[in-house]
Amino acid sequence: MTRRSAAVSFEDVMATTEFRPAPAAHITVDGDACRGCTTRACVTACPARLFVPIADGGILFNYEQCFECGGCYLVCNEKGAISWSYPEGGAGVVYRRG
């Protein structure tokens, strides 16, 4: 029966957590800095898979399903490529069992 837990996709797991999207993004990514980045730590470290590399060498990002942990800007080694703050009050992730 372990197969049942393994069969749950990442999207389904993410869907169990409530997010109230803010009208504006609280993350911004400087695409030019990303094109010069070789490590791309944000892509693997983000627990919500918000950062996706794209063909032109930049990084595509989402903010709607952000856990607001802050890991991305801490691991980013292109100084200042990710600017990050908290979303508007009342918006963002809402844990029920955190």
Partner: protein, 276 residues
């Protein structure tokens, strides 16, 4: 007397947990709020009131848990909060009858087009009937213009058609959530709203015995339309559909306990590529 703009709100759980096996709903009072459509209705009322100097009254039919939700309306700028104590699950016509006396006299009554808890969206129409005023329901666009009291709006009709309305005078309007975003409450009003009084009114006794539910069937999604399989004759297509052409040996009879049987079915389905 100061002119009045009324708003009807319904406090609902914004995110209900549903047990995937039993379909049982797990309530969570912390997720109480109103739909984006109800928020948009308040925003239109506030904008309309700004133009005319009217007071905004927000009325909700429900239990005491709705009071906190009503105070959110006060934080956004509503002047009066009224809650009509009504049995949960009352039919739309009774909800409208309970709300009507408390929104009567308002130039405009704004509602969200449909609540998030699978509401029928019928309360605004019943309300217009109770009040004997015009109705403009399911608005996609609202333009308050410069006029005092009226507005024009675009409305959805069946079959994807649209109708543009000009409303003057008393009316019940219901709008969709995308028409406006509720303003962010100022800090001062947030602090004031904590103590905002909610007037509690009794609901009138039901006019006639409410229709009662005799039976209830589980939610059934609509059948999916699957393109017909290729085949020159109807008989071929039917054979393909019912799997009679499937390679021999696919069918298998097993005698197992319930758990093992379920496992075996899952395994077989996975092997046939029927599972995602």
């Amino acid at each position: 007397m100061r002119p009045l703009v009324a708003v009807c709100w319904k406090a609902v759980e914004l995110r209900a947990g549903v047990d995937p096996l039993t379909g049982e709903i797990r309530p969570d009072p912390r997720s109480l709020g109103v739909s984006p459509a109800d928020e948009a209705a308040l925003e239109w009322a506030l904008r309309a009131a700004e133009g005319t100097g009217a007071a905004v009254r927000v009325v909700s039919a429900g239990g005491p848990e709705a009071d906190g939700v009503l105070r959110q309306a006060a934080a956004a700028g509503a002047a009066e909060l009224v809650r009509v104590a009504i049995e949960p699950g009352s039919p739309s016509c009774e909800v409208a009858r309970a709300l009507a006396p408390h929104v009567a006299g308002a130039g405009l009554v704004w509602c969200g087009d449909v609540s998030l808890d699978r509401g029928s969206g019928a309360v605004p129409a019943f309300l217009a009937a109770e009040l004997g005023v015009a109705q403009a329901l399911g608005l996609l666009e609202v333009d308050l213009g410069a006029g005092a009291g009226g507005f024009s709006g675009l409305r959805r009709l069946d079959g994807g058609r649209r109708e543009r309305l000009r409303v003057e005078g008393p009316a019940v309007a219901s709008c969709e959530g995308g028409t406006a975003r509720l303003r962010r409450a100022s800090l001062h009003l947030m602090l004031e709203a904590r103590r905002a009084p909610v007037r509690i009114e009794a609901a009138p006794p039901p006019r006639r015995p409410a229709p009662h539910v005799v039976g209830r069937a589980p939610f059934r999604p609509r059948a999916r339309v699957v393109p017909p399989p290729p085949g020159e004759h109807a008989a071929d297509r039917v054979r393909a559909l019912i799997g009679a052409e499937a390679p021999a040996g696919r069918a298998r009879v097993v005698t197992l306990g319930p758990e093992e049987a379920a496992e075996a079915i899952l395994e077989a389905l996975a092997a046939w590529g029927e599972l995602p």
